[in-house]
Amino acid sequence: MLDISKIRKQFPILSTKVNGENLVYFDNGATTQKPQSVITAESNYYQNENSNVHRGVHFLSGLATDKFEETRITIQNFIGAKHSHEIIFTKGTTDSINIVASGYRTLLNKGDEIIISELEHHSNIVPWQMCCEQSGATLKVIPLLDNGSLDMIAFENFLSENTKLVSVSHISNTLGTINLIEKIIEKAQAVGAKVMIDGAQAAAHISLNMQSLGADFYCFSAHKLYGPTGVGILYGKEDVLNELPPYQGGGEMIKEVSFKKTTYACLPHKFEAGTPNIAGVVAFKSAIDFITELGLSNIAKYEEELLQYATEEVLKIEGLKIYGTAKNKSGIISFNINELHPYDIGMIVDKMGIAIRTGHHCTQPIMERFNIPGTARISLAVYNTKEEIDICINALKKAKMMLS
């Protein structure tokens, strides 16, 4: 059993007052708050350890490099990757997807096909549209069913020898659907396609093992895992990453540079041109330690309990409709109340100290699918409580009363 009040004490921002009220932070799908250990690690890096990585012979450079590489090993263990050089540090999930999509521009030809889904975040749509535009490949989109899960029959019908890559999210940021990625990976790889999983919403909530999952690429952002912003992970299988052309040229990513021919460095450095966000990477380790100490399975169990409670309670509000009712869901509740605009609801509950997200959540195709302008979204994290859900429900009722 997790001691939630003890966990909350580790997050200084959670004791903030917003508009005179206690902050209730339900926008964890956008970014999570940071525990003191992460904040301390980031400032400690600048106070005591700052130097550039992999470059100098001097003491501090060695220290910074050690710290930086320690995080790589931590991530390797956290996601069960076979090698630490399969872990690439990026700016975030969007950056990770762009690295892969950019590489595929030269790997794909006319007639090749990429499959994504209707529930993807724009970050997992637009890079592939750009990739198709430049390579001549075709983009296919797995449609959504009414409950917010993917139409797996349509998916299987899309698969052919032309399918070169499938990129889907592990968990929908808008609907909370946990996609059947094991099945998607198995079926796609059976026709020889590579599979990329956007794990932005998953990595803080589901325990991962890359070796048993078998995805070719998997990516996520540190800031959604209680870590700093500006740091992301791109995992790729060694051989797949070796085949992928580098994304950016610059320092650190080269083996030899001459004006005749430049050769590229080995993994992971091939994809890490330029000075990275060292402080962020170093602090990310503290975030992973925070999660590991609590135990991801304990976190998942607690969040499931919260989700169930929140779902039951919000449905008691008359006229409230939840979008995304798949059997397997993560702690995300997207909803509308009657014909009320989600922006109005968000503005009113904000005055009561409650942070929810409103709008299309960077998933306009989902909004089009359900023919709505947007939704209000509650997204949960381990520090949230049932009391906060009650406060939110009361605020929603008040908003409904004011707006009706």
Binding site: N19, H341, Y343, D344, G346
Partner: protein, 138 residues
């Protein structure tokens, strides 16, 4: 005092009566509900200002030396602020609209709502109203 300034002063006075945010928001909702509807034929793609959060439609007509604005929004709170802006800037001479300073927005505590980061379409709406005024003034 120009008409626009006078109207602004009246609005500031109205908002001065409210003790808390709830009264202010309820007033905005009322204003939104009372806003004269835009003609359906003017709710076109051309007249649509797309915000990330809410959408605003704005139509302008130049008659007898004045611009008549009509507008709508899909979110009622946004529509309330739209109503205030219409109240201030509609039925005024293009030159007065183009040069109007909208200081009252700060004074009534709605600055946040009119910040570009809000993405509710209101900042673009003001810009568009001013552009109409400049165009009609020439």
């Amino acid at each position: 005092m120009s008409t626009i300034k006078k109207i602004q002063a009246e609005i500031v006075e109205d908002f001065g009566m409210f003790d808390d945010w709830m009264q202010k928001y309820e007033y905005l909702i009322d204003l939104g509900n009372e806003l004269a509807p835009i003609k359906e034929q003017y709710k076109t793609e051309d007249n649509l200002i797309k915000g990330c959060q809410s959408r605003v439609w704005l139509h302008a007509e130049h008659t007898q030396g004045k611009i008549i604005f009509t507008a709508d929004s899909d979110a009622i709170m946004t529509k309330g602020i739209v109503a205030i802006l219409i109240n201030v800037l509609s039925n005024q001479a293009p030159k007065d609209i183009a040069t109007a300073k909208l200081d009252f927005i700060n004074e009534i505590g709605l600055k946040d709502q009119l910040s570009p980061t809000r993405a509710n379409g209101l900042v673009s709406m003001i810009k568009k109203m001013k552009l109409y005024a400049i165009a009609f003034n020439n």
